[in-house]
Symmetry: C2
Subunit: 345 residues, 2 copies
Amino acid sequence: MTSPQQPGPARPTSRDVARAAGVSQATVSLVLGGKWPGRVSEVTAQRVRDTAAELGYRPNLAARSLRLGRTRTALLVVPALTNEFFARVYAGAAALAAEHDFGVVLYPSPDGTGPARDPFASARAALDGVIASSMAADALDALHGADLPLVMLDSDPSDTGPAAHVNLDIADGMRQVTGHLLGLGHRRFLHLASAVGTWTFAVRAQALREALDAAGGATVRTVRAPLDVGAGREAAERALTAAGERPTAIICDDDILAAGACKAARRLGLRVPDELSVTGFDDLALATALEPELTTVGLPAEQVGERGMEALLAVLDGRPAEQRGLPVELVVRGSTAPPPATARA
Amino acid sequence: MTSPQQPGPARPTSRDVARAAGVSQATVSLVLGGKWPGRVSEVTAQRVRDTAAELGYRPNLAARSLRLGRTRTALLVVPALTNEFFARVYAGAAALAAEHDFGVVLYPSPDGTGPARDPFASARAALDGVIASSMAADALDALHGADLPLVMLDSDPSDTGPAAHVNLDIADGMRQVTGHLLGLGHRRFLHLASAVGTWTFAVRAQALREALDAAGGATVRTVRAPLDVGAGREAAERALTAAGERPTAIICDDDILAAGACKAARRLGLRVPDELSVTGFDDLALATALEPELTTVGLPAEQVGERGMEALLAVLDGRPAEQRGLPVELVVRGSTAPPPATARA
DNA sequence: ACCTCGACGTTATACGTAACACTTCGGCGA
DNA sequence: TCGCCGAAGTGTTACGTATAACGTCGAGGT
């Protein structure tokens, strides 16, 4: 029974409901749109609602969008969703959107392959606005080109293009980890970074530098690695075996890199945390799956999505979107400890 | 400069392009729709394309959908995307969809909380079809109610409701792990299951049972746990400390549970793999982040998404969707080894 | 000279909805 | 009795697109 065309009776329209209820299409629209008080009597309204339910009426969203010129749909532009952080951002955004009868559609930034698709073609509906992570670099130009309300996540606030910014207080997170490690007695650090050249890297690097300078006598070396476990391991392994005094703590920009650093340590026969401390960022599920559990900076990913959507809704309403850094929180677990006595000399 | 209304000039329509190019709107539609050969001269066509590009024309997708009655949009229904497996399914589906100028919108099955939203309300556009994972139990009823083409992922093939099924050959995966462990000499197993009561659990349990029966003299105990590391650890810890002979291998339905099992082992002072073998399912990034790396059954998640979309496109074209189990592959890593000599006696 | 026909377009229409402007009608104060 | 008002709806229109049906025009055949 392959029936490519109209199989059963076509979906009922508001006019069908109107006919069945003995009213005009306009009345159906009024009632179902919630605009009826004072315009339609309660009895009629109830009759309309009943027949609508009976026929299984669902408004045609394409027609509604066309009529209204708005779609109640936002585009969320993120790098790969396989990164738990962004999956959580999406979850937060989608949850808040649902509360406001909004939808969220994703632009999955192509993972390397793919000819850098058009973010707007992938969104099948017309869009009311865009929420974009600064990490999805490939799509950003196109977004600025479109004259849609744009909310940027974790991007340079001095960039005045976007209508609003939602930023994590990463600098504070960096200060917290660094302070924690300095307090334990560490003085030689390795910074395993993921996205050199971006704004968030600059913020992290500067916060780290300032914290170390304030402590005095501390050194740091920065190494870059693509965002996966294997790459993190290799980079860490290289840095740990390089000439010069070995660092006693590795500060990673991401839990995934931290996992790599832990593997590198194990390969080199360094015990974590006794001989080497490792910290991450994000507090992914991974952080508590590892042994020892990872000391990391917890980022409220869901909140990032929520606030992004909140800001977008505000902009769409003509309200000002309040810009505020989201607080982050150091989560101390088992991957950090004082440096070995030999290194403290 | 908050401008809730029309800020700049409204987006150009096909009529604007027509005016600028000195042709009728219909011609613009023909040219841009690719239907021009034989109906519009090459020069005119080129002129239309140029002016369209110049004005930055983008077709209004709502209007197109309304006109065509099709949206080229599919709904993908999955449990939480924070599960890397489903994020990969989405990636696969979205990639293939993009090749066919299709879009994929997600129904993020509410994570416990949330009043079980309407899957169709969350999709803002009208839909051409649905691809649903059997794991998103809460939404399935509503999906069967709608008369949309439905492709089910990993669900009972004897359920004839859906238009097509895309299944992983999980039974084979289970046979492979079991065979691997039996070959190493294991005879006492713990099955750490995630979704008792579902079809995939039934398949796994039966395959496991059959493989063990064929070997003879092997025993298994099944324990259930919610799908997260902590729950897996607790369940495994309880089972490992229970009365009776301790199992020498834990077969987990998921890498996440396997991570929990590894933690349980470490807590109890059991070394993996020397004193306890652990296997997972899915081959997530987590599998290689752990130490030792996890022996697991690799599932082609992206392919699941691709095949699902492929099947849906076929159904929409009136073609038959070929039903085939996707092959899975045992990936042997460091978390499995022969059981300790004491247990082999 | 008339008809045909292909090439190249154009005109007109419908998709389903929301909202504006309008009608109908009983009641009510002057 | 007239005029007016509010309640309760209805008629109509427009949103932007795709396509079926129709027009025009010149070349070529008879």
